[in-house]
Structure formats: C-alpha cells, structure tokens
Amino acid sequence: MAHPAERHRGRKYVGLPEFAQAGEQILAEMDFEQERGTVTNLPDERTIRYYIAEGLIQAPGEKQGTASVFGYQHLLQLIAIKKLQAEHLPIRKIRELVNGKTERELESLLGIGASSAKRGGSEAKQYLESLLTQSKRFDGPSSPPPPMFAAGAAPSQAQADDTMAASWQRVEIEPGLELHIRSDYTGPTTTAKTRSLADRIRTTINKFWKEKG
C-alpha cells in the first residue's frame, strides 16, 4: 500500500491553513501516537510557524499575493518532524536529520516510494521465514533431514504455515512426483530459462535416485 504522502507529490499549498490541513490529513491516516502532553499530535498553524522559526521546516520562498506557497518538500519535513517526535527525539536532533535534506532523503527517512522494493522484500522475507521454520521443524537427531532443493527454489512445506502470507499448491506431475508451487511464483520467461529449469529438475531427480541407491 502506498504511503499517504505519496499522492501529494508535486502539489502546492497556498497559505498556512491549506498546508496545515494537508499535514493533518496525512498524519491522521498515519495514526501517530504521542504520549507527551506538550507535543500536539496534529500540527496547527501556530506549531508550523514555530517549526519554521526553529529552522525545522524551510521557510517557503514562493508567494501568491501575501500568502506563502508550500510544496511537497515542506510536507515531507512536517511529517518527518512528527514521526521523529513520536520516537522521542529532541528538537536539536530532529533539526539535524531534517534540515537541508532533499525530497529523496526525506522520503527515504519516511520509507516512501519503496513499493516495488516492498514486493521484492516480502519475497526475500518469506524465503527467510521458511528457512527458519524448516530448521526448527527438523531440529534434533530423531527428525528426518530436510529435503534437498535446487538452488534458488524456496523450500516447500507439506502444509502451509498459517502465519505465512503465501499459499502453496501441490501439482502432480506423475504418480510419485509432485511440484509445490507458491501462489506468487512467476515462471521462466524465455526458452533458455525454461530449458535451464527443466535441466535443474532433471538433475535433482537423478541425484535423488543416486542417493537412494
């Protein structure tokens, strides 16, 4: 799911009230919890003026009439300040982390813009979690050894773990031989890759029979 701030990329806010309202909307969606009584959850105009005076939010350079024009970078600065305050960092430290940072650096601080990375990350995460589960299931001399898997293939399980996000489907190739396919698996995209996959499966089967004797 995209970060609430992402849809504000490229937008401008004319005047402090409009800017404060945009900040309030995003922070309400992010649902911050702050315990300290002196720090307000949702920033009002007075708070934002204070942040500008303290150099936490860059003073806007653009004007429309008498109203200051704020942009996406100012919004990121505002959200970052509230996030770091929620982590109980002092103002001095927050200024260090936020002042003078580019949009990209602020987005990175807030974990914004990593949607395709998130997909890749969840694949790596699922893989590692399955390794942990597998090693725990087969601990101890009385447990059978884990099956050998071709390099790169995530180990399958006879029954999917309820806590894992992906599901597995068993497909019979022929009596005595099954493929376990994870729900988010995408197959090879070229003839060469398909051939290579078939070779690896064949090698694995041959190795299984050799070891069986």
Partner: protein, 418 residues
C-alpha cells in the same frame, strides 16, 4: 549517476600476431567502469545488516577489533542508509533492527556493549540478519548481510551445501551476502562459497588489526558499485577457438560467464586463451566478439555493451621488434597462480605436503620469470612475497589451517580481479 558504459580493451603480448603459423594467444580483456562523480549524492543507498559473531573464541582483541569495524561502518553511513546489527553466539540478539542511520551515537553505544560468550549459531544469525534487511529492501540501493565470524557453524543448520544454496536463494531475491572470516579456525569452504553464491565478497582477516581495513574495502566496494548481475559472452571468429578462460568464472543459466560486480574506476582483468589458425602476412582479422551484460547501479534494466577485437598478422621478425605488453604476461601468470594455489590446497587436504610445496615453489619461479620486467611493481612484489610466505609456512604443520586459508583467499582474489 549518468548513463555511461565501461571501457573494454583487448591486449595481446605484441600488438600484432605472427603470420604463417598456428598459435595459442593469450588475450587480456580489461573492463574498466567509469569513475564515480565525486559527490555523495551519486552513491547508492545502503541497507546493511552486520551479523557479528560473539562466541567465546572471539574474546579479546578479535572482539575489540570487530566492534571497532562495526562502529567504523556506522560512521561511514548516511542518514539515507539503513543499518541493523545482529550479534550471535548460540543465541541471536538483534541489537537494533534495520533503521535509518540517524542516531549514530546510540548505535555505536549498543555495539560497544557486545562481549564474547557461547557457541556459534551462524546459520540462524545470518537468516535473522537477512530478515532485518528484507523488511526494508531498497529498490535501487544495495541490500546486504555482512557476516563476521572466527569459527565454525556448530549450532542449528551446519551443512555447507544447504547454507551456500540458501545464500544463493536469498541473493536471487535481492539480498546479497559478504563474509569476513577471522583468524585460522573458521571454515573457508563455507564462508567463501557462501559469499560467492550470495553475490557478495569473501574476506580473510589474518590479524585482528586488519578487520577495520577489510571493512573499508567492503564499504568502498559497495559505495563505488557501478553495475551488478554482470555476464560475459565471448564468440570467437571462424578459425579461432577458445581454449581456456583463466578466471574460471561460473556459467549463468544462459551459458554466459558470471562476472563479479563492476566497481567504478576499478578495472577487471580477464584472460582468455585462443587457438588461432595460420594466417598470411598482412591479414587483418576479427578475432573475438564480446558481449557484456550488466545492470547499472541506479537503473532497473540491464544494458549490453558489444565490442570486438581485430588483429593484424605480420612476419615474425617484425612482431618481435614491437613493444611488448608486460601486463598480459602478468595477468596470465597471476591467474595461473590462482589455479596452482587451488591445486596446492587439494594436495594439502590429501596430506601430500611435499607435492604442495613443489607446486608453490614452481609457481614462484614462473612468476619471477614471467614478470621479470615488472618485479619492482607493488602488485608483483606482493604476489612474490605471498608465494614465499606460503612456501615457508608449508614447512610447519602447525600453520596448515592458516596457510590453507591464505592460499584460498589469494586464489579467489586473483580470479575475481580484486
């Protein structure tokens, strides 16, 4: 980073080949990525987990140096980078999960408190470190686990084949693994293939005071990475045959050679031996076609660079009067030395210490002969010194473990152009 391509150069010992005879030709292919612009903003974001062995054997200077190296890492990173630290013995402690490197003092304080105790649950610690990285995977940054250990995996999963296979599996899912082995008692037959299959670097720290230097190389390598997922295809012309590729690169699933990451400004030397049929005087011939595929650090899609080598054939007396390129002999010899080291290790494993010693002695003689014009250059002096050291150490059985590691890591460095 602007889109630029690596420079690809072909060198033979002499700029022309002898005519009228069939011959084996050593071709040095040098791939040099462009230098990075001197700006922090052009360097990739890093998402790293340091997985730090705190088992009992790390007690003393090793633990101190490992902590200092971890703190060095913290100091080099930017607020746009992410870091986590996992300390392990037979228990796994996530000192802090992956977070932006904002509170450096706090991070260093936690690292400073790590002390040595317990056994070595290496596999689970590596998995935990990988989890902290994968929870915040960077799309166009570098996602890596750096495993630092002085010992053997003796708790949990311990099978080398399994762990190496899993490191490859994790690399295919976007997280690479580097390993740092300290001293003489870790298992190089685990750590080296783990890093190789895991898409990272394998380092050997002989003395604890070298740990920080190794970390500088590792971080510098990450920061200056120009391209990854690098593959090489070589297609010889008609009448030319590839006899050998001395770097012993592995093959990818599409039959190309798998190369290490490309580092900005850092040349990668590859030596291929070609059998070339007799050609008449004055012939100009396209000898070899090259296809280099790589994914630039700051882009998602792969790029392809194609080059070819053209040579001219001349009479023998004319060729011998031309300037000799000693770099070709040096690069060839160093790669042959890597093979000799691997062979010496096999002999040591069989208890054939005399044969191992003879191999290294012969390799040293060949190096001195082949690289004579370049004996005063630092790289040749270093190589000769390393071979002399190996020869001396082979006389003492007590040094076998350490000696084997030195041979293994030196061979690995030469083959991957480091």
């Amino acid at each position: 980073m602007t889109q630029q391509h690596p420079k690809i150069e072909f060198f033979t010992t002499y700029p022309k080949l002898e005519a009228d005879r069939e011959q084996i030709v050593d071709v040095l292919i040098r791939i040099t990525p462009p230098e990075l612009a001197p700006s922090e903003k052009s360097r990739p974001d890093l998402n790293i987990s340091l997985v730090l062995d705190r088992s009992g054997s790390m007690e003393g200077e090793k633990m101190v140096r490992a902590r200092n190296a971890a703190m060095y890492c913290v100091d080099q990173m930017l607020v746009t980078d992410r870091l986590s630290v996992v300390a392990f013995d037979d228990h796994i402690d996530v000192l802090f999960p992956s977070e932006p490197v904002g509170n450096k003092a706090g991070m260093k304080d936690l690292i400073r408190r790590v002390t040595a105790r317990g056994s070595t649950a290496l596999h689970e610690a590596w998995v935990r470190g990988g989890l902290t990285v994968s929870e915040h995977l960077l799309d166009q940054g570098i996602n890596r686990v750096i495993l630092i250990t002085d010992g053997l995996a003796n708790v949990g999963v311990t099978s080398t084949d399994e762990i190496v296979s899993q490191a490859m599996g994790l690399f295919q899912r976007g997280v690479s693994t580097s390993t740092v082995g300290i001293g003489a008692n870790f298992n190089e037959d685990l750590l080296m293939p783990m890093a190789h299959s895991g898409g990272g670097n394998a380092w050997h720290v002989v003395e604890p005071h070298d740990i920080e230097e190794i970390f500088k190389f590792e971080l510098q390598g990450l920061i200056s990475r120009f391209g990854h997922t690098v593959s090489l295809a070589l297609v010889p012309a008609d009448g030319v045959r590839i006899v050998d590729l001395l770097n012993d690169f592995e093959l990818t699933e599409t039959g190309r050679f798998r190369l290490p990451d490309l580092q900005s400004g850092g040349p990668l030397d590859i030596v291929v031996q070609l059998k070339v049929g007799a050609q008449a005087v004055g012939t100009t011939m396209r000898l070899l076609d090259l296809r280099l595929g790589f994914t630039p650090q700051d882009l998602k899609n792969a790029e392809v660079v194609r080059e070819h080598q053209i040579v001219e054939f001349a009479p023998n007396y004319e060729v011998e009067r031309l300037s000799k390129n000693n770099e070709v002999a040096k690069a060839t010899q160093f790669l042959m030395n890597a093979r000799a080291r691997n062979e010496a290790m096999k002999r040591m494993d069989l208890g054939e210490y005399g044969a191992a010693k003879d191999l290294i002695a012969g390799t040293l003689r060949e190096t001195i002969a082949a690289c004579a014009p370049m004996m005063s250059t630092p790289s040749v002096m270093q190589e000769a010194a390393a071979l002399e050291d190996a020869l001396e150490s082979l006389k003492d059985r007590a040094k076998d473990k350490l000696n084997r590691k030195k041979l293994a890591y030196a061979a690995y460095r030469h083959r991957s152009g480091k």
